[in-house]
């Protein structure tokens, strides 16, 4: 490898570090992403210059096909479907890494004696974990896209089948190191697919974002191992960065939900299901019409909006923003309280509201706004549930116990906009719904907000 190539690769590796650094601050995030993209493009172009590659037209065609697919997918996807899109992109990356490792294994088999055991181990790792990441991400995608149930899927033998599949994969991995043949590699890949499926099936819908993040870290590590096999420093550094930061990010997210990663991944296996009953309750609640709620809001001095995924599903962000604009024009102080896991992924709600042109300054994070609920006249909860469920503080057995919540229960009045009495994503009943201070406004969020908007305008 010529020196200039190594220097370019070094520069690319540095750019990836800067990209991650940039992505972790709001002001630098977009630039960080662009730096990463530029480095990736440069790194891919380099081998066409210094190597005499075969099949160049076919390779370029394949890159064009993938690029077109990626761009179209990325531009068409609705903001609400962002999590599953990330899962899908992650999955195909893992699949690509596994295929690359299989090809490397194929290259090595004729002259195995020259290959170190460490290289073979890295190859086996990439094949297995890349396949896990691929299959796991596809299941995650199916769960979020609601192609299959988002509830945990558990079958009686799962707690035995899963460890056996993992153990078999480890044995086959060792076999690749001792006696590398193509068929062992292929069986290892298939077994990896099985482990990936079994890993994600028992995870409940609410925890799926954590799984995406974890699988993202897995793919990073496979790319790093692939980089070692190919003796390519860019792959090694980029993959390791993603693996390390992805693992750390997974832990941060789990902490924001008051859970441990192990509990999320294996909670359902141990029998303590991650979900509760999910039955609609028939206990009495107080419901009201849009006009009543309009009066509550219209004459309040301080209103806090708690938006949730239901808002986004109903595509009601724009109507909500109009309502808030009208209230602000009436002299009411209105803010949005953003729970770290509102939406389907941490930060997802900010993206959705920003899309509806809600000013960034009105979005207040949980820690900052939690003290304000005491002085708030009305809290309007739109399509959210678990993030204001006091069970997180009061009921030690509840699946969400320990998760930090928004203190909506401290406000003078609480208004819930809900489709029905069905519990939230975590599947547990919300005591706040039955609180005497609470009023419910039933109906589709967009529809109800429209009526509410007209009623407030008419005041």
């Amino acid at each position: 490898m010529p020196t200039w190539v190594q220097l370019v690769y070094l520069a690319c590796a540095v750019c990836f570090i800067l990209a991650l650094k940039g992505l972790s601050g709001p002001r630098t995030a977009r630039a960080g992403n662009l730096v990463g993209a530029a480095a990736a493009v440069v790194a891919v172009i380099v081998p066409f210059i210094y190597l005499d590659l075969d099949h160049v037209p076919l390779i370029l065609a394949a890159i064009a096909v993938g690029t077109a697919g990626g761009v179209v997918g990325a531009r068409r996807v609705q903001m609400t479907q962002m999590p599953q899109m990330v899962a899908l992109f992650n999955g195909v990356g893992g699949g690509a890494a596994a295929l690359v490792a299989l090809l490397e294994l194929h290259e090595m088999t004729p002259h195995v004696d020259d290959v170190s055991w460490f290289t073979l181990a890295a190859t086996a790792f990439t094949i297995a974990v890349g396949s896990i990441s691929f299959a796991g991400s596809i299941i995650t995608f199916a769960k979020l896209q609601e192609l299959m149930t988002s509830r945990p899927v558990i079958f009686p033998g799962l707690r035995y089948v899963f460890p056996i599949a993992v153990a078999a994969a480890v044995v086959l991995g060792v076999r690749v190191v001792i006696d590398p043949t193509m068929w062992v590699g292929i069986v290892l890949a298939l077994l990896g697919l099985l482990v990936g499926v079994l890993l994600v099936l028992p995870v409940g819908g609410a925890d799926v974002p954590i799984v995406i993040s974890l699988l993202n870290a897995f793919t990073g590590l496979t790319v790093a191992a692939g980089g070692y096999v190919l003796s390519n420093v860019v792959l090694l550094v980029a993959g390791t960065l993603v693996g390390a930061s992805g693992t750390y990010l997974t832990m941060l997210m789990a902490k924001a939900m008051g859970r441990s990663v192990a509990n999320i991944m294996f909670g359902a296996l141990k029998g303590g299901s991650t979900l509760g009953g999910g039955e609609a309750s028939d206990r009495p609640v107080r419901s009201a019409g849009p006009e009543d709620v309009a009066i509550l809001l219209g004459y309040a001095d301080r209103v806090i909006i708690v938006p949730g995924y239901g808002l986004a599903v109903a595509q009601a962000q724009h109507t909500l923003r109009e309502l808030v604009d009208v209230l602000i024009a009436r002299g009411t102080q209105v803010d949005y309280a953003i729970h770290p896991v509102a939406g389907r992924m941490p930060g997802h709600m900010n993206v959705l509201l920003a899309e509806a042109q809600v000013p960034y300054e009105q979005l207040i994070e949980m820690d900052e706004i939690n003290g304000e609920f005491k002085h708030t006249d009305v809290v309007l909860v739109v399509g959210a549930n678990d993030v204001v469920n006091p069970a997180a503080k009061t009921t030690p057995g509840a699946p969400i116990y320990g998760m930090p919540i928004l203190n909506a229960d401290e406000a003078q009045q609480i208004v819930f906009m809900k489709r029905s009495m069905r519990p939230g994503f975590a599947g547990i009943e919300n005591e706040l719904l039955f609180d005497p201070k609470t009023t419910l406004l039933f109906g589709d969020a967009k529809d109800s907000l429209g009526k509410l908007l007209n009623a407030v305008k008419a005041l």
Binding site: L23, V86, L230
Partner: protein, 107 residues
């Protein structure tokens, strides 16, 4: 020094760098950060190009091309979707006309 140890050194240092650079991220940016990191591991495209460009076996060529397509989807799609998310975070100054949101999302 054994070459494997050099690689191991790079690996371990990268682990620390990876954790350190994102340790102060606010929860607002978790999703774009995850998406951006996701795009970065699309660099496996480089690996796919290297192995595909060196093979002389037809089956391997096909598998390699499939890997290239998948990796390109990961890399390009990942960066584009991250950028789309981050456009939303750009602080809207008193801007009157300039609306950079792309049409596809204005449902």
């Amino acid at each position: 020094m054994d070459e494997a140890v050099v690689w191991l050194t790079i690996f371990i240092l990268s682990v620390f760098v990876g954790i350190e650079v994102i340790s102060k991220v606010s929860s607002t940016l978790h999703t774009p950060l995850m998406s951006g990191a996701n795009a970065i591991h699309g660099i496996i495209l480089l690996g796919a190009v290297l192995v595909t460009g060196a093979t002389d076996n037809d089956v391997a060529l096909v598998v390699g091309l499939v890997a290239i397509v998948l990796a390109a989807v990961n890399m390009v799609g990942g960066f584009v979707v991250t950028d789309r998310m981050l456009q939303m975070f750009v602080r809207k100054k008193p801007k009157p006309a300039a609306a950079p949101t792309d049409g596809g999302s204005a449902a």
